[in-house]
């Protein structure tokens, strides 16, 4: 079989992600085979024959190879498992029914029993902007466009502390300014959601590592803590703010 230029690599071996490595290895096999089929001349193959010979069907066969081996893919955008549930891991925590029992469970969440003020530590996060007072309200998970559409049509309930695992600024775009506070289980203070909450003056913790907070719990976020800077991220300095539960739902 034809040998590719990248087959002889002194320092590179394989991609770090098994999925990427499996995909790339399969694609390289297809390239080798098709290069062979057309006589093995790279210069006439790379920007000419390969445009016809390497096809979308070839790429689909690469994905199918992993699916045939029993692999289900992680999803990140809600649309992906909605359109192709057969190729993605099940989507949990996005429907009203799930919410009765759903909670983010981060393995590194710091937790502690209730303090003298009755505040039970349920995790930490990176404070986006410092405020004079902490922020408390009702925890409500927001993880899908359907939930956003519902709040867009019905209005966001008062005192909502939105719990989100999407550090982007688009999912909650039409309702963000109506949140009392935000706890985001991803990103950093420089993520889009962090930028927008700062602009709107909505208290927010990013990169939150929390555990056990259920829909309807009353929570408090320590936004009197110092805001975490880009330098702190780059130098690995820990600057965290607490997330407490005041009352269970």
């Amino acid at each position: 079989m034809a040998k590719l230029y990248v087959d002889n690599d002194k320092f590179g071996y394989q991609s770090a992600s098994p999925t990427v490595e499996a995909f790339h290895a399969a694609i390289k096999d297809i390239v080798r085979r098709k290069l062979d089929d057309c006589g093995g001349d790279w210069d006439s193959f790379v920007f000419d024959k390969s445009y016809d010979l390497i096809t979308a069907e070839d790429m689909a066969s690469v994905e199918q190879m992993l699916l045939d081996a029993g692999h289900k893919f992680d999803w990140s955008a809600a649309i992906s498992p909605r359109e192709k549930p057969e190729i993605y891991k099940p989507a949990a925590g996005v429907s009203d029914e799930d919410m009765a029992t759903f909670s983010f469970e981060h393995p590194e969440a710091k937790t502690a029993d209730a303090d003298a003020d009755g505040r039970e530590l349920r995790g930490i996060g990176d404070n986006v902007a410092q405020y004079p007072q902490n922020c408390s309200g009702t925890a409500r998970y927001i993880r899908s466009p359907d939930q956003v559409l519902k709040y867009l049509n019905e209005g966001v309930p008062a005192d909502t502390i939105a719990i989100i695992d999407d550090s982007g600024g688009t999912l909650t775009a039409p309702i963000l300014e109506h949140f009392k506070g935000v706890i985001c289980a991803g990103g950093s203070t420089r993520s889009h959601l962090g930028i927008l909450t700062r602009e709107y003056g909505v208290p927010c913790l990013m990169n939150a590592k929390i555990s056990g907070i259920r829909q309807g719990d009353i929570v408090e976020i320590e936004v009197t803590a110092k805001a975490k800077t880009a330098e702190a991220y780059q130098t690995g300095v820990e600057m965290t703010a607490n997330v407490w539960r005041l009352n269970k739902a």
Binding site: L4, Y5, V6, F11, G12, Y13, S15, A16, S17, T19, V20, F23, I27, K28, V31, W42, D43, V46, F47, T55, A56, E57, D58, M59, A60, E63, F73, D74, W75, S76, A77, I79, E83, K84, I87, Y88, A129, Q130, S144, P145, V148, L152, D165, D166, S167, G168, G169, T170, A173, G187, S188, R190, S191, I195, L196, E199, A227, E231, Y233, Q234
Partner: protein, 518 residues
């Protein structure tokens, strides 16, 4: 095999520029974290955009330069807040192209010796544009300037400085400006499918010992290039909006090539002490004031724009939430790939099929782009830098990471010693889109136009300050010729719409401008 048309000097320079971009892209990606969204399949569209950039940029840049050189467009870019600024040109133009190249290398579909005339040309175009656009600060990127962007000439900075209205936290103007900027930022993220490329900050400029100015651009806001803004954004009257912001007791120590800033102490609402509002594009005579005739008019304008932007946000969100995954990927990939499209508008050669379609060569790879593969492949490409092609000798300590890695593969110098290479990936191939066809309506500073009208107007127009008479009269020339008839003429052109500087000429210094603010 192509004949050797590339010199050693060209290769040395090209590899240097690629390495510079590699270092900075890593820094930007690790300090800004990954972009993610529950709404958009972001990594999937990014990966597709990189391929589209690789296949199309060389041909499209040549098409643009058939009418206007990169350095002339760089001059034009200083005169307006259009989307050919740092995120587009400082970073994305080389970045997207080279990321596409790197991914193809890792799939075995490309050698580092392939398309090298394309690579050399793309990097050379980038260099010439950047040097021209940044000619006032004398750097090629914000990174080279220690993360700073002082691209504007004194004549324009003076007008921004002179005409700003003071504000303090809690007053009506402060509230109106802050509210608009929050809404416009959010709208910008939505327009750009979660990316930040509708927003841009440049500066800072020193207004006084305790005050600095940042120039903030919000771009592509109205019914114009993007098919997904047809109708829903018709109520947003300006495609590009620039807000000048003065801050007190707050130093912007970093303005990066993504157009983001960092300040010490942290920039919060209470630091904002002055604002101005403008619109511009390649058909305007520089920045045109919006509501700047009075404080009351400015407050009203901010509030009016805020309402328009919020309405468009809700309409657009509902449209997007009903899209298929392929439509989301298309919109995102096009937003990314077409981040440099305004080069074509400036040159008057914009074509919908060039910029709003996915080239069929890139389209072949769409079936790979499930969420998991896309996330991991992208993460390895720009964050972990862990693809095989990115590994280099073990003694290497890469800038920022100290790891033996290089984001973008060099072109091997062996091509000068007879190693076979290929020159180009070829012309633009037909494109496809899952989105509705673009409506023939473009919002410009001269009103709604068809594309044919817009291209014609672009080809016919040169902003007065950039005509041959003034184009090369730079700040260094002004330093030694202030007060001359020619310098005054040039400054008066910039001052023509200024409330406080109209007709003042070229001799004013910063303190004089401050006094004229009243």
């Amino acid at each position: 095999m192509a004949q050797n048309r590339i010199s050693y000097a060209q290769l040395l320079e090209t590899n240097n520029m690629m390495q510079t971009c590699s270092d900075e892209t890593y820094w930007l990606c690790v300090t800004r974290t990954v972009q993610e969204s529950k709404l958009f399949p972001v990594p999937a569209y990014m990966m597709l955009s990189y391929l589209n950039a690789f296949y199309r940029y060389p041909s499209l840049l040549k098409k643009i330069e058939s009418r206007m050189s990169a350095e002339e467009i760089g001059d034009r870019a200083r005169n307006m807040g259009m989307k050919i600024q740092n995120p587009s040109m400082g970073w994305a133009l080389p970045g997207f192209y080279l990321l596409g190249r790197e991914w193809l290398i890792n799939m075995g579909l490309l050698k580092p010796t392939d398309a090298i005339e394309d690579v050399v040309y793309v990097m050379d175009f980038w260099k010439r544009f950047q040097l021209s656009w940044h000619r006032n600060d004398g750097h090629i990127t914000n990174k080279e300037y220690g993360h700073r962007a002082q691209v504007l000439p004194e004549s324009r900075v003076q007008v921004f400085h002179a005409d700003m209205y003071d504000c303090v936290e809690g007053d009506e103007l402060h509230e109106a400006a802050q509210t608009f900027m929050a809404s416009a930022s959010q709208y910008g993220f939505l327009i750009s499918c979660e990316s930040r490329i509708s927003l841009h900050n440049s500066g800072p400029y020193k207004l006084a010992d305790d005050r600095e100015m940042i120039v903030r651009d919000f771009m592509d806001l109205s019914e114009s290039d993007f098919p997904w803004l047809d109708d829903v954004a018709a109520g947003v009257p300006h495609n590009n909006i620039t807000v000048t912001m003065a801050v007190k007791d707050c130093h912007f120590y970093l303005v990066d090539d993504w157009g983001s800033f960092e300040a010490q102490p942290e920039f919060k609402a209470d630091k904002l002490v002055g604002v101005g509002l403008y619109t511009s594009d390649n058909l305007s005579d520089g920045y045109m004031p919006l509501g700047m005739e009075s404080r009351e008019a400015l407050i009203a304008k901010f509030n009016e724009l805020n309402a328009q932007v919020k309405d468009a946000t809700t309409q657009l969100w509902k449209r997007i939430a009903a899209w298929s995954r392929d439509q989301m990927i298309d919109a995102g990939a096009i937003t990314y790939f077409a981040i440099i499209k305004d080069l074509a508008h400036v040159a008057g050669v914009y074509d919908v099929d060039d910029w709003m379609k996915i080239d069929e060569r890139a389209e072949r790879f769409r079936p790979l782009l499930n969420d998991e593969f896309s996330r991991d492949a992208l993460g390895e490409l720009v964050g972990l830098v862990s693809h095989p092609s990115q590994q280099v000798m073990e003694y290497t300590m890469a800038m920022h990471s100290n790891k033996p890695v290089r984001m973008y593969s060099n072109i091997p110098y062996s091509v000068l010693a007879g190693e076979p290479y290929t020159a180009s990936s070829g012309p633009v191939y037909p494109g496809i889109t899952y989105l509705p066809e673009k409506k023939d309506a473009y919002t410009t500073t001269r009103g709604r136009m068809t594309l044919a009208e817009y291209n014609k107007a672009s080809r016919e127009f040169t902003p007065p300050t950039l005509t041959d008479k003034y184009r090369h009269l730079c700040d260094t020339w002004v330093k030694y010729n202030a007060g001359s008839e020619l310098a005054d003429e040039m400054y008066k052109l910039e001052q023509a719409r200024s409330r406080n500087l109209k007709g003042k000429g070229s001799s004013l210094k910063r303190a004089d401008v401050e006094k004229l603010r009243g």
